[in-house]
């Protein structure tokens, strides 16, 4: 799993004056599950379309298995794209839609039949094989589009928001299926998703795009625990931010209180900065960390596994989110209006330039 399979070198794409992709360098490894995250309009679809061969990069090159495919036609690339709009063939049945790609490979009829039947089983739509796309629900259509791309077992599979229309349970099942299929057939996946949780769960590596540029790329843990910018920290998971100013080896908050962090040179002395801490790093057990913060509970939400508190504090106009495990919440019953103090460790504080 260490061999580079796909290389993007300085890929750019302009649509007239719009710069959709702004010089991306990226190496995707053999059999990797790679997730692209980014706000709407950040260039995710454009990037996938260049990999599939539907847009020519304005500059840069794409290499797949050592072969330059920058200008190769879509039907000559061992790459398949599942379209964000599904793009199913409306005049064909579900089974015909899925079989189409295999027929293009001129496979024997019997093999096509059995592979279509197998994949229909996986997406749980065997009973709708003879329906036309118009007679399916949005989620069913999405699964057909997924199956149509998957059944080809390409070297590289590009999925543009493949599970967005599915309910939570089905989405979980499909996530597991995707992982299983990936291992079974050794397909490399690049998946675009708006759902950061999905990216964290499924991906070997995540890249965050902002305005067509690669903001950060790394393992889910890396991205979650060590975001390199305020944008990345905000984009993945929930993060509490508060304005601070650096003062030597520590930070000063709005109310004059000290905030401790593992400071490097990212923020110059006496300059404004933003400190950040994840809700699950805040503890009721104040003794556990160097930092502490007192506030009033303004809202509580029970989530089964955890209890989420909103604290009004002098540190920032936004309320601070605290996530308590069920155990911690039981040990210390709370109600709205209570004044509590939470603490966290210096190493859990992230600091970004303001």
């Amino acid at each position: 799993m260490t061999q580079t399979m796909l290389s993007l070198r300085n890929i750019k794409k302009h649509f007239g004056a719009v710069q959709a992709v702004a010089g991306i360098d990226l190496d995707i490894l053999e059999n990797e599950f790679f997730a692209l995250l980014g706000a709407s309009g950040s260039g995710k679809t454009t990037l996938l379309r260049m990999l599939a061969g539907f847009e020519m990069p304005t500059a840069g090159s794409i290499t797949l298995d050592g072969r330059d495919i920058t200008h190769t036609l879509p039907n000559h690339r061992p790459v398949n794209l599942m379209f964000q709009s599904y793009a199913l063939f409306p005049h064909m049945t579900v089974a015909q839609n899925i079989a189409y790609g295999l027929e293009m490979e001129k496979l024997p009829r019997t093999e096509i039949k059995s592979r279509v039947a197998d994949i229909l089983e996986v997406i749980q739509l065997s009973h709708l094989a003879t329906r036309k796309p118009d007679q399916l629900s949005g989620g069913q259509r999405q699964r057909v589009a997924l199956a149509r791309a998957l059944v080809k077992r390409p070297r590289l599979l590009l999925l543009d928001e493949p599970l967005g229309a599915l309910d939570k349970k089905l989405r979980g099942e499909m996530q597991l299926e995707l992982k299983r299929i990936q291992h079974e057939f050794g397909i490399t996946f690049i998946i675009v998703t708006h759902d950061q949780e999905e990216a964290l769960v499924m991906a070997d590596r995540i890249a965050i795009l902002q305005d067509g540029a690669l903001l950060q790329c790394g393992s889910p843990q890396d991205i979650y625990e060590h975001p390199q910018s305020r944008f990345a920290a905000d984009f993945i998971g929930v993060m509490n931010f508060f304005p601070v100013r650096r003062s030597g080896d520590h930070l000063l908050a709005n109310d004059g209180g000290r905030v401790f962090a593992d400071l490097d040179d990212a923020v110059a002395n006496n300059s404004d900065a933003v400190a950040a801490v994840r809700p699950e790093r805040l503890h009721l057990d104040v003794g556990k960390g160097e930092n502490s913060l007192t506030g009033r509970v303004s809202a509580m939400a029970y989530h089964g596994l955890d209890l989420q508190l909103h604290l009004e504090t002098p540190l920032s106009p936004d309320s601070v989110m605290v996530r308590l495990t069920a155990d911690a919440a039981e040990a210390r019953p709370l109600s709205i209006g209570d004044e509590i103090t939470v603490g966290w460790a210096a190493r859990d504080t992230r600091v970004f330039a303001a």
Partner: protein, 284 residues
């Protein structure tokens, strides 16, 4: 909308159709079963003679010939019109209305003028002949005007705008990503056209074909002008029965068959289009 409301809204159209379409058709139908008077006119005794006469090899032959000419015209018009519609739909979207406008432009001029224009072109001393001769060719040109081909050319020319519009509608509605999906799954350009574009736009082709066929098979102006006096299509035959031969009952019988053929084709086409779009409607 309630049934009653839609009835009110449909009343003027229904009245119009009944008065000017259904009643005359019924009159024609009835007329076909009467005898021709000795000096023209109608003798009101029942007979099937006129109906049998339609199947006389002489007249059946004219039916077949008319159908062949109409079919050839429809086929050529569909091929040429589909290609044009495809090109228009592929043009940048802000230029498409203008291209469509030009495609339909001839349609706004008088039918006779347009047909006469072809006489000017195809004439022995016409434009085409003079151009060929001015290029240095001295020999005899094959006859262009007053031929079957001239009739086909005239019909295709006249009805082409219909076909372009009929084919443009589904072509412009094609989702480009569906075409891309076919390429993505390994289909070449030609395979994609044959298996995706063509079937998805087939209703437009069917509409265009039936339109040209139905309008051509009953046409009598174009065959009269471009086919010359001796050339007969069903339309000319009907025209002659009513206006020169004074055999109204036989003219009526011929008309009935013509109408039956047209109705049959239009019904078929409606069913085909409905079946193609039926799935979509079922859901909504």
């Amino acid at each position: 909308m309630t049934d009653r409301k839609s009835l009110y809204l449909m009343t003027p159209a229904l009245a119009w159709l009944t008065g000017l379409m259904v009643i005359p058709c019924l009159l024609i139908l009835v007329l076909a079963f009467f005898r021709r008077g000795i000096y023209g006119g109608i003798e009101y005794t029942f007979t099937l003679e006129n109906i049998w006469l339609v199947f006389d090899p002489l007249y059946a032959g004219i039916f077949v010939k008319s159908a062949t000419i109409a079919g050839t015209s429809a086929l050529i018009a569909v091929i040429v019109g589909y290609a044009a519609a495809y090109a228009i739909a592929a043009a940048p979207s802000r230029r498409q209305p203008m291209l469509l406008f030009f495609a339909v432009l001839p349609f706004w001029s008088n039918y006779l003028v347009r047909t006469y224009a072809w006489i000017v072109l195809l004439n022995r001393e016409g434009l085409i002949a003079s151009v060929v001769h001015s290029l240095g060719y001295d020999g005899e040109l094959p006859r262009l005007l007053y031929t079957e081909s001239a009739v086909v050319v005239g019909l295709v020319y006249n009805y082409l705008p219909f076909v372009i519009l009929a084919c443009y509608a589904p072509l412009s509605r094609l989702n480009p990503e569906v075409i891309e999906a076919s390429r993505d799954l390994g289909g070449s350009g030609w395979t994609t056209f044959r298996r995706v574009t063509l079937p998805m736009t087939a209703p437009g082709i069917a509409t265009g074909f039936v339109f040209v066929f139905v309008l051509s098979i009953g046409n009598f102006v174009t065959p009269a002008l471009l086919g010359g006096g001796q050339f007969q299509m069903i339309g000319n035959l009907v025209y002659a029965q009513f206006l020169t031969a004074n055999d109204w009952p036989f003219g009526a019988a011929l008309s009935m068959f013509l109408i039956a053929i047209m109705m049959g084709l239009l019904t078929l086409q409606t069913f085909a289009t409905e079946r193609a779009s039926g799935a979509r409607k079922e859901e909504s």
